[in-house]
Subunit: 315 residues, 2 copies
């Protein structure tokens, strides 16, 4: 069962949000509430736990980093500036070194992107379970939503896709891969960089019409933008940015490159649409952006072939 359907079921039981809630549960990467006359507060919460989210060998410092990065990526996807986080930490046992490293990893990630961890809870739990809740602020005029994409807009993505997937493929297959390649890809998987400055810069161009993060995979995120904006996408597969490392891993493991780059997920990049006539303003940024397609009235197509939305399913 796709996460989306479960979220719909859960939120169907919730009372409709009041007017002060500008974006309610499930409609976007963050909920948005009114902060001041000119500014909004964005809020997101994410659960990570050992068996699903921390591959064997993940260090406590990396676990802490990932937990914070996950929430910051959601904040970034609204064009917001991260401010604060609170964390709930479930641990099977008390190990002083582990707890210090975990907390230091959380703090390093938060501070790297300008945020502070200001509260939390700790609990004994069979499995390492980390929940971070992040807050950011954004000028009302600069808030980016999943809705807003219009037919004719260009579809863009930051960075490279498939890095996290390739790192997992190396682990799963056991294939021998050059150490440097493994280290580089592992860093993408275990120390993902939330695109915080990129999200803020993109929002400031005022030519981005919709945005989301793609940590659940490009296909799922295309579905979210499509659903929220009431449009479709045509993707040009050869424009999807994939590093030579990822291509090498696909070759060595026999993995399908499309599977790695479109369906797998785990890359903390931003997916967004831009007014075609204003794309120069995005190209001028000091951020690597690839134009991978365009907005069409309906459906999801890769080079003319209709595709299904399919991605990470929790259940």
């Amino acid at each position: 069962m796709p996460e989306r359907d479960i979220i719909d079921l859960i939120t169907s039981q919730f009372s409709p949000a009041p007017e002060s809630v500008l974006v309610p549960a499930r409609e976007d990467d963050c909920a948005v509430i009114e902060w001041t006359k000119d500014e909004d507060l964005v809020i997101t919460t994410d659960m990570l736990h050992e068996s699903t989210d921390f591959p064997i060998g993940t260090t406590p410092r990396q676990m802490g980093w990932m937990c914070i990065a996950q929430s910051l990526s959601d904040v970034a996807s609204m064009g917001a500036v991260p401010l604060y986080l609170v964390v709930a930490v479930g641990l099977p046992r008390f190990d002083r070194k582990f707890v210090k490293e975990l907390s230091a990893g959380m703090n390093t990630c938060a501070r790297k992107y300008g945020a502070y961890i200001i509260g939390g809870d700790v609990d004994k739990h069979d499995e390492i379970t980390l929940v971070s809740t992040g807050f950011g602020k954004v000028k009302k005029k600069l808030l980016l939503r999943r809705s807003g994409a219009r037919v004719g807009d260009l579809l863009c993505v930051t960075g490279n896709l498939g890095n996290a997937a390739a790192a997992m493929k190396i682990r799963e297959s056991g294939v021998a891969v050059d150490k440097k390649i493994k280290r580089t890809l592992d860093k993408s998987l275990l120390e993902p960089k939330p695109r915080v400055p990129e999200g803020i810069a993109l929002s400031k161009t005022k030519v981005v019409t919709s945005m989301t993060d793609i940590s659940d995979g490009l296909a799922v995120s295309l579905g979210e933008l499509s659903r929220a904006s009431g449009i479709g996408f045509e993707i040009h597969e050869d424009k999807i940015p994939v590093s030579k490392h990822v291509k090498k891993v696909a070759e060595l493991t026999g993995a399908d490159l499309r599977e790695l780059s479109i369906y797998y997920g785990g890359d903390f990049e931003l997916l967004f649409t831009v007014r075609r006539s204003e794309i120069a303003k995005v190209k001028k940024l000091r951020t690597r952006v690839s134009i991978i397609g365009e907005v069409i009235p309906k459906g999801l197509f890769i080079d003319g072939e209709k595709i299904k939305i399919r991605g990470y399913q929790h259940f």
Copy 2:
């Protein structure tokens, strides 16, 4: 290892909070940040999970209720008005009825106390794990802290103590207890009522000098007030409000009444101190309040006997 020591270790790894954070992690039931010139935002996060927090027979509706109630109790303890919550839900499998009931329980509790659930995350997890993060607002002048108690103040508590403990004792001992008593105590354990209107009313009297919730037990909470305010307490044991049901359970199971009412925890009551000369303002409220002792310069005493802080330890 006491939760307090682990929290100290974790927060020792966090960078000091900026000026906009009026109360940082670990110093109180909630973190407090500046909202507007006149109002503050209080934030709290709490993790609950099946093996520790949901006794056998807890319904999904009750699990949802408890998860929200836990955060609202923290918000209440600052004298704040609950506004919003976000929830992270970990579930071992997808069961439509369970998810609906759980969500309905969350919503019922939130709405009962004026709050809305505005966002969340769902994840597959070996154990039912619920994390709620709650937000409330409070006029700066009305914010109540753990610090602020002064020598000579009266120590008070809302409601009755030991209900949740007695319900657990019945379960653990297997002793036959009158059904009505069991039902009443079970309701305290599984559907705890956060003292939200009481917290707001107490704060509005402007004669309360410090406050905290006692869900971790009276002894632990006395320790927190004592530590934050730099004072001690003298408790009069015969003034601790204990229902006849709890006395009956103590009698039937051979449990120590002091253990149930002071050390066990699980009661969502408020513990607070009041200026002695102004106690009439608290007595006038439509809230049941018991004066159980007074603030002294140092140490914790019950009827002259020095006691140790001891309560729920996670590890």
